[in-house]
Amino acid sequence: MKVVALYKWARDPEAATVRAGGVVDWGNAKMVAGDDDHAVIEVAKTLAEGGELVGLTLGDGDAAWAVARGVDVAYSVADAPYLADEATTAAIMAAAVKHIGGVDVVVIGDAEQQHPAVPGLLAGLLGWPALSAVGSASADGAKVTVERKVVGNIQTVSAGTPVVLGVAAAGEEAKPPGMMQMLQARKKPVTTLSLADLGVAADQGVTSAGTALPELEGAKMLEGSPAEVAAALVAALRSDGVL
């Protein structure tokens, strides 16, 4: 099978701090792959056994990250900006998948909070079926069989190809690549695609007006004897509708 592993390459959200006033300070946040993406590659690698595993990312992310994890060919849509608009993001991805051509399965992380709709939109734009919350997958001829979490149960589903699989990582990466794998991966070339090559525009008509903290009421200090404080607390909880 020819499988595309789509991974996200973005500033590490854990390195961001929210400053007074709600401004997000990215400091020197390094670029990292998405939390689900090691699982994406793992699932894609299993399906691509004997076939071809293609890595794809938007932006100028470090392809060595994917290559060291087993990707045969690395593509990036280098001039794709980070977009708030999920439909445009999915459209760029769909165009890249069509450009790569002959793809049987696209695997993409789907637990990301920032773009939950992308995997479904991508499948819709490609006109393929989509399965989300996938934990593992295996190939069976021209079909894929996946195990996915559905309301606390593990469901086994078979699907024909082509298909889009949304993968959720169960935890941290078990064994990140070693130093030699990374060194060798750095030497592999990346095929760079541009928005012009793909014939898509990144003009989304959506702009971010910045970030702000949600409005919070200041803390109240209750004073008096323990009995008075307790009574005042109960009264306050009642009036706020908590009790």
């Binding site: 701090t17 400053r19 007074a20 400091g27 020197n28 390094k30 070693g178 130093m179 030699m180 060194l183």
Partner: protein
């Protein structure tokens, strides 16, 4: 051989070594333990940067530095007073002599320069051990992977377990080590410039002794960045343990001191961290070379606290230059034996770094003097109070004022003279 040279650690010493060797056309890999370059590195924050101009001409103009230090403040802090010498000199900025830096910005820049020169920088890998063969060091082991090279450069910081494993150093005695605790407090640029009397990219550096460490050996520091202040304490470990003090409590005591707190008022805590600091001076610099191996920077024990200046980053850069030049020679000769590697030690000794380490060899012993942290601050404050506190009593001549303050301090004139002389000798 996988590479000509393997550098362990992407701090200042490691990056300078790698940059120069890569620029000379050698194949170099830098293996860094932190998930990203600069993640694990922490300095008080003043870099005496003239040496960097030798490596990167016009360093202060192209590197991400914070402010150019033109104001140095040396203070004795008491519970309710602060006596200081304020030395503000525009000449210190022309040419730039010292800059404040934040390592999380500077170190990635240095690594980028090394990469642009052709070095491979590999963050996120911890080197577990060194490889050796027939008495020569031949490479490193990280996880299951081995990498080989003609020369390994240990730039792995103050704890340098690799130098210990290689038999180059033993565990340092506590009195050679101090712990630094530092906060970075965010403030608007204009507030910083107004509070510290600075214009444009000028910066201030405070060195303070006394109450900030509750009399323990060490001191407080405060450096202005563009839009933040680096502030903290450095306390000698033996004194910390002996006096049963906590370094984080001393840090809080310093930043909340009524003489210091107004400088930080309204600020926002951006970073908080701690790091070991070498305080042994020359006595801490150990064997630095073995066949196929050299040790640079903090790992080599290259730090210098004179009381007035605390230096480490400039010495690290100087050791990186010396190491790169010696290794370049060795690679051209194809000889990596003890004599070739000792070429690094000879170059280091001849550099300003080696000479300064020798000049200030007595500084650590002088700075161990407990009177410096306990007695001189109150003495100075009491003498000055004798002048300024016009309480209606007739003024006395300076000599009796001084004598009375000296008597109160319990120091005695002979002790004072002896400490003064020791101070002059140490510096």
């Amino acid at each position: 051989m996988d590479f000509d040279v393997i550098v362990v650690g992407a701090g200042i010493a490691g990056c300078v070594t790698a940059y120069r060797l890569a620029k000379a056309g050698h194949s170099v890999v830098v293996v860094e333990r932190g998930a990203e370059v600069g993640a694990k590195n922490l300095s008080g924050g003043v870099l005496y940067c003239r040496v960097m101009d030798k490596v990167f001409p016009g360093f202060a103009d192209q590197a991400p530095v914070e402010r150019r230090i033109t104001r140095n403040y040396l203070g004795f802090l008491n519970p309710d007073s602060l006596v200081g010498i304020d030395y503000h000199d525009d000449r210190l900025g022309k040419p730039v002599n010292a800059v404040s830096v934040l390592r999380a910005k500077l170190d990635p820049w240095l690594a980028e320069q090394a990469e642009a020169a052709g070095a491979v920088v590999m963050p996120g890998f911890k080197v577990d051990s060194l490889l050796s063969e027939g008495g020569k060091f031949t490479g490193i082991k990280a996880g299951d992977d081995e990498l080989t090279a003609h020369v390994v450069v240990l730039a792995d910081g103050i704890n340098s377990f690799l130098a210990r494993d290689a038999g180059l150093r033993t565990k340092e005695p506590l009195k050679h080590l101090a712990v630094g605790v530092k906060s970075v407090i965010g403030l608007p640029r204009q507030t910083i410039e107004d509070r510290f009397g600075l214009a444009g990219d000028q910066g201030a550096a405070y060195a303070i002794v006394g109450d900030c460490t509750a009399g323990a050996g060490g001191g407080g520091f405060l450096y202005t960045n563009q839009e933040s202040i680096s502030i903290g304490v450095v306390v000698r470990l033996d004194d910390l343990v002996g006096k049963g003090l906590s370094s984080s409590e001393l840090h809080d005591r310093f930043v909340l001191h009524p003489q210091i707190q107004p400088l930080l008022a309204g600020g926002e805590l951006l970073e908080y961290g701690c790091h070991l600091v070498a305080e042994g001076g020359k006595a801490m610099v150990h064997d630095l070379a073995r066949p196929g191996l050299v040790v640079v920077g903090d790992a080599a024990g290259l730090t210098l606290n004179t009381g007035l200046t605390v230096r480490g980053m400039d010495l690290a850069a100087a050791s990186g230059i010396a190491a790169a030049d010696a290794i370049d020679d060795a690679l051209q000769d194809g000889n990596f034996g003890q004599a070739a590697m000792d070429g690094y030690v000879a170059r280091l000794d001849q550099s300003f770094a080696g000479k300064d380490m020798a000049t200030y060899a007595k500084a650590p012993a002088f700075l161990e003097n407990p009177r410096l942290f306990n007695d001189y601050g109150p003495l100075l404050a009491n003498v000055l109070r004798g002048f300024y506190n016009l309480d209606g009593a007739p003024r006395e001549h300076i000599i009796p004022v001084f004598r009375a303050a000296l008597k109160e301090s319990g120091l005695g004139i002979t002790r004072l003279a002896r400490d003064g002389l020791a101070g002059v000798k140490a510096l």
